[in-house]
Symmetry: C3
């Protein structure tokens, strides 16, 4: 199968300084036919968890053979490894710092993992402060052009990858207790509690009990609403506003999922 | 004619949460050869009027057959319809909430409108909170790949579209009175008053009377200047600064266009 | 050689107002096969020096024949010239206001320069406030499609280009004194002092003396560190934080590069 030549980019570089542009140039220099797709350059500096969250939400939708480069890399230039992985038909290139934890969990399939050691694929010399440009970009171009994963370096056991500490929900009397793990641009509070769209349930948050609704506009403007978000996680929103601002809370807020409140 | 396969994206998603990335993946999954073009993901949450303004300015310039997906959609999951339109050689996909009002006025040609009802074109299941990913993106891919507009669902009369309430200028003694309808990134105050580039006129705003100038640098640094903007609307700018900050005003500020002040 | 059809875009337009979208549409209208690459639309309004810095860092990496359009253009519509240049295998289109100073210095090769005068290549009519859309975009499409540079207008001597005033380092007793010329998104203070990666040196800044380290994580979290940045300039960073915020300083801060402190 010919890969589609698509290379997505996820960084905390912003765009104004030229680092994201350099990353793009370095991919195209090696594979002028590559088709670049920005996922984000606006992640908070060093926020590996946010990058992991973004990739989990977006990467699985892309066509097979897409190469996803992710560079949130505060440990650049140290002994931390560079990785290239294949999982669920997608390819990933970036640092071994947990950045792929979310998407690997979302894809639910053990990845094939290789460490980046084949310096012949890299730009030379390699700047110790910009592996995105000098290591990850050319390796991504190699893979997007149909190069073998095994050529990037030796195989690693998936269990050897660095993990991200992520809170997990726990059962409580009559329900499941989780917490807010992400606040999105709309001020929606995204939790780590899974639910099926259409499930009957109620959600306890900040002293309130909300029925699980179908969509944001199922409540009046200005009211809190709990829905199943588009990635299957329970989230708390405020219709036409920001739940995070309204509740003055964010990541870490406890949320409990319970059976629907009994009528009577 | 083969469509160019170009799909533009206009949303209020930001990029950091992965929603824009998911939209891109959903287009490419259905049409791997699609050529994505970001118009903006930085619109204020829920600001349908800003999306309408952006599309009016940018969309008419694209080559025929371009598909413009616009998702500012606070009513997602409710009874609001999804639409696909063709006008001026361009195609548009998004919610029926007025988001296409500006571009349809700019194109000045009655559109061919269809409601999105052909679920076979959509992703399944459809999340009630993310029609961008599950409905609009795959329909856009269908159209960008050369699929028929009529296949997306039944035709609608253009007059049945939801409209945006937009202020219209009114004649006053010796002139035309309009108002500021948009403040851009430079702090320029864009009005709803049309004028031809090169017209001789004067502009009254905030107690001042300014001649209609040709370009920003026709006045001294720090001075207010009225020009005909690049979309043919009168705008008030401050050379090398922000007129909005200088006047401490924005949308709604009254602006009157008059004949040139008589010399005397 | 067939050019790759890549057109990069660098502006201070933001994306929310539709100016960047109009620029993209104007390129694609003339060359539907063009492959657009955003470098940045987030430069501070009117910040020509920041655009120059960005292009210096990013543009040299792109494949030969790439066309870079740069529009930070506070003098739009005045007598300032428009330019198209070729240097180092790359092509550049934009205003003659110093915006290409950094990249021409980085490429280190005299450019071939032409003034934009061939109105037949432009959109008509030309708005005096938006040469990006009406002049630079169609000229870029001409070049990206393989059109001749000489067709855009008459040749200019490189020495006739408008220059940017840029501070230059000066020798001092036992070292070289420069200054911070750019603060990046991470709060790193980028200087105009060049050094080779791996050089032994020490850096004086704000009353401190720091050894030149290899990478950010060579010091403890929260400590200042001096490294050679990815474009070969000395920069001052704070591990896991912002040096600019920590020192409460930015552009203009004096930094002196000296031989390594003698042990003793």
């Amino acid at each position: 199968v010919t890969p589609p030549g698509i290379v997505t980019l996820t960084t905390d570089f912003g765009t104004a300084d030229g680092y994201a542009g350099a990353l793009k140039g370095a991919v195209l220099a090696r594979l002028p036919s590559a088709r670049l797709v920005d996922l984000s350059h606006d992640l908070a500096p060093g926020d590996v968890a946010a990058a992991s969250h973004l990739l989990a939400r977006a990467a699985p939708l892309f066509p097979p053979g897409t190469v996803h480069v992710a560079v949130v890399d505060p440990g650049v230039g140290t002994a931390r490894r560079g990785l290239a992985l294949r999982a669920g038909g997608q390819l990933f290139v970036g640092p071994d710092n947990g950045i792929f934890a979310g998407v690997l969990e979302a894809l639910g399939e053990p990845p094939v993992v290789h460490a980046l050691e084949s310096r012949s694929l890299w730009r030379a010399p390699v700047s110790p402060v910009f592996h995105g440009r000098d290591v990850f970009a050319p390796v991504a171009a190699h893979l997007a052009g149909g190069g073998e994963l095994a050529q990037v370096g030796p195989a690693l056991a998936p269990g050897d990858l660095v993990r991200l500490a992520a809170p997990v929900p726990s059962p409580v009397a009559g329900g499941m207790r989780g917490e807010v793990v992400h606040v999105d641009r709309f001020g929606n509070l995204v939790t780590n509690l899974c639910a099926s769209e259409g499930a009957e349930a109620s959600v306890e948050v900040a002293g309130r009990r909300l029925p699980l609704s179908r969509t944001y506009a199922d409540v009046a403007p200005g009211a809190l609403v709990a829905v199943v978000g588009s990635s299957g996680r329970v989230e708390i929103a405020l219709r036409d506003g920001s739940a995070a601002a309204h509740l003055e809370r964010g990541a870490g807020l406890v949320v409990t999922l319970r059976p629907p409140r009994e009528s009577g």
